[in-house]
């Protein structure tokens, strides 16, 4: 066998094994917007970063999983954003262009999507801002049935490595925003509300969201 076929064969084997180990699971289909980076891109090849534009590994979800968040109500710690509206977060427009994102104030801020009813959540996808290479600080994503997030809280992502947002220290890696945003597995966590925190970014002290998508199965 020619050696150039080896990686292909290995990939197929790994893929087949993954599917064999997860009966009834299918790769989550997420629609990605066009990249918005302008100018000469800087080389990004870090161990804990995916290169700009590269596709992350598929997240396997149940076959019945669907988008639950479109058009759902969003609340926030900053109830009156200066730029954009909270409804932009679940309106399906993730292009990231001017007029397609909401800008929240400085320091730790959160947005919360109310799914309307408790659901079994497979994944949460978030696009903060992807027209410039930037990293959002202290990104924490939680799921709960309690709108106040005081009980029954499951944290599915936390990259606040110094606990500066006082939500507990997290071990997840930071990442540079791209048009692929970040799709986070929720492993079937149960909850009606999804809350996302952030604490500014490497370009300014503000917090932005283009879109949040919550995938799962309604109960």
């Amino acid at each position: 066998m020619h050696s150039r076929h080896l990686p292909l064969l290995l990939s197929a084997l790994i893929g087949a094994t993954a599917f064999a180990g997860a009966p009834g699971k299918v790769p989550l289909a997420v629609e990605y917007p066009k990249p918005l980076f302008a100018g000469t891109p800087r080389p990004i090849s870090l161990a804990n970063l995916e290169p700009a534009g590269a596709k992350r590994p598929d997240i396997l979800v149940s076959a019945e999983s669907k988008l639950l968040s479109r058009g759902k109500k969003v609340t926030s710690s900053d109830s009156l954003p200066v730029i954009g509206e909270l409804s932009f977060i679940t309106d399906g427009d993730k292009t990231g262009i001017d007029g397609a994102y909401v800008e929240l104030g400085p320091n730790t801020q959160w947005v919360q999507v109310d799914l309307g009813a408790s659901a079994k959540i497979d994944a949460v996808a978030v696009w903060h801002f992807h027209s410039q290479a930037r990293v959002y600080h202290d990104v924490v994503v939680q799921i709960s049935d309690d709108p106040e997030f005081k009980k029954g809280v499951k944290t599915i992502f936390n990259n606040d490595d110094d606990n500066s947002s006082k939500l507990g220290k997290g071990g997840d890696k930071s990442y540079v925003e791209t048009n692929h945003g970040r799709v986070l597995p929720a492993d079937g966590a149960s909850g009606r509300y999804v809350r996302l925190y952030s604490n500014g970014n490497t370009s300014d002290e503000l917090n932005h969201y283009c879109e949040i998508e919550v995938f799962g199965v309604a109960k």
Partner: protein, 493 residues
Amino acid sequence: MPHALLRCLPLALLAAAALWLRTHELARRPMHADEANQGVKTGELVEAGRYAFDPRDHHGPTLYYLGAAVATLRGQATLAALDETTLRLVPALAGALAVPLLVLLARRREPGGPGLSEPAALAAGAFLALAPPAVYYSRYFIQETLLATGALAVAVALRCWWRSGRTRWAVAAGTGLGLMQATKASTPLFVAAAAIAVLLTRAAARPASPRPGRDLLAGVGAAAVTAALLYSSFGTHWAGLRDALSVYLHALLRFGAEAPPTGHEKPWGYYLQLLGWSRAGGLLWHQAALSALALAGLAVAARRRDPLLRGCAVYGLLILAAFSAFPYKTPWHAVHFAAPAALLAGLALDALACRRAGPVLAAAAALLVGLSLWQQTRLVAFLRPADGRNPWAYVHSSSDVLKFRPLAEAARAARPGEPIRVISEEYWPLPWYLRGLPDVGYWTEAPPDCEGALVIASLAQAEAVRARLRRPARESFVGLRPGFLCVVFHPEP
């Protein structure tokens, strides 16, 4: 209250407001790379008492000497002790001084004489006090505001000399000109524009001085002595005089037709857009109200036979044309259009006030323009002073840079014997933020030994640094400016 004091009260209040706008929360905005670089240079002057003019990468000495003077007054004797407020007080005080200078330049001294009525001159001063570029760059440790205020001071002194004929005013104007030249080598551009403006508008007139040639010589002498004192570091670095001339050769090599692009080339209409409006990231930035009134003032200046106001209009247009024609453009040059625009806007109000029901209309127009300027200045200088969308925050450091110092201090405390390494092709303003810390080194490429208490690397250098680290390290990201990220390596305990 005596009548004279009462007459000065509006100008005093205006100057106080201008000073507050220029000094309130001066340290809040992170340091721009240029401010940081000049801050470190000022720190060296404060600490070692030495300064040598560098014709390649720096402007003239005035800013540094004034910074050192303010530092002495505030009891800051080392680079480590210097702070943002000390440095920015220099342009802030100069920017505040520009407001009464403009009013003094513009106001009519005798009935029927050249200039604006008292209310119109005060309105012009208020517009300058509130103008976004004037406020923003008065809070910014670079040369531009000093230069603009110097030009106004020279103009006021020249007007006094023209009217009184006293040689001391010619010497004062010359001293101001010398300070301008010692601030920035672009001063001849302003002198040429002013000379053309005077020739075009006052060709037939004669100054009151019986011996204008002698006064001119006295002025030129004062300018030469002042500039020479500063460029020679007060007689301690005579090579500075040679370098003060060679700066034009360096400029030719840097900006000449054969020179490579600097990265700051912009279309000719760049400044017109700054004077008008632009939209970025959902925010509207504008000066359109002031510019519209200034355009009306320009039309009035063309019709009114007032050599002072016509001269100021010609000067403003020439400066705008010259900066627009030059491909190298940065927003701080727009400071030089603020005073002429404010004066022309005042002229429009002056003309409007002469009409029936004019005073009310003029007051309303002044109020509207003033409110529009305040709304923009609040946004530009106080709400979003380092925002990447702010057209005046040019290639500005992001607020994240404020995190470097605490990170470095914590790292030094945890590993006292180890260095702090900054490995990045661009690293300003970090030398400012890490000032006073021992064992801080800077590399543009990863050195063979990358170990340290804290290693700050640009994205481009991060992979090479990671490969050379022998100990495991936790990584985090801190921004230097929008789009330029640093990876911070914290060695694991």
